[in-house]
């Protein structure tokens, strides 16, 4: 394994299960389940949408076997990786930024993203827009919600 030589590292934000690692390690594993619901009016209730109700958070992801039948021979003629300056705005959602070497990185992220807007006053507009405008959305009873 080579030695990583970095002049400077500047990272502004590390959020949602991201990893910044300076130095060597053996194994990094990170897993994120995210339900990103953006509402025009930020009004949320606790446990409003249990993730288990969405199949995408349950379905197994096919995995390659790391132990393929490959015999790797490596020769480090120059035992350094040199980088002057690194600047990263953000690392997020099971991302890994590492200066140094590792043996295995295993990452998984599942994100469901929905934006919900309040209909205009007197709103006739109700329904799903977007990809084909499929699946009409049932309106709540008048007076319910807002």
């Amino acid at each position: 394994m080579r030695t990583s030589v970095v002049g400077s590292l500047k990272v502004l934000a590390v959020i949602f299960q991201a990893v910044i690692h300076v130095g060597d390690t053996r194994y990094i594993q990170a897993k994120t389940n995210a339900f990103a619901l953006q509402r025009q009016i930020a009004d949320f209730e606790k446990d409003e949408f249990p993730l288990e109700q969405f199949p995408m958070f349950r379905r197994p992801i096919p995995r390659l076997s790391p132990a393929e039948n490959v015999r790797m021979v490596k020769r480090d003629t120059v035992p350094f990786i040199t980088v002057g300056a690194v600047k990263i705005n953000a690392a997020s959602t099971s991302a890994v930024v590492q200066i140094g070497s590792n043996v295995c990185i295993d990452l998984e992220s599942r994100i469901k993203h929905i934006r919900q807007f309040t209909p205009p006053a007197g709103g006739a507009a109700a329904g799903a827009v977007g990809a084909g405008g499929m699946a009409p959305v049932p309106l709540a009873a008048p007076g319910a919600g807002r």
Partner: protein, 61 residues
């Protein structure tokens, strides 16, 4: 299968990254195995013009 690698000199001046996101890796160093998987779902109903209580029941995904 035999796989022979010779690491010669690598020297980089500067790296500027906006974002490393959703099971992505930025690595200055050596590694043997990297496994990254990501599911990102914006379903057809991902943009909803509707009342607050009208988020549709999950289907399919």
């Amino acid at each position: 299968m035999d796989f022979y690698v010779e690491n010669k000199e690598i020297a980089v001046g500067a790296i500027r990254i906006i974002g490393v996101s959703a099971s992505a890796v930025f690595l200055i160093g050596d590694t043997e195995t990297i496994m990254c998987s990501s599911i990102f779902d914006t379903p057809p109903e991902s943009l909803i013009i509707g009342r607050r209580a009208s988020l549709p029941a999950p289907s399919g995904t």
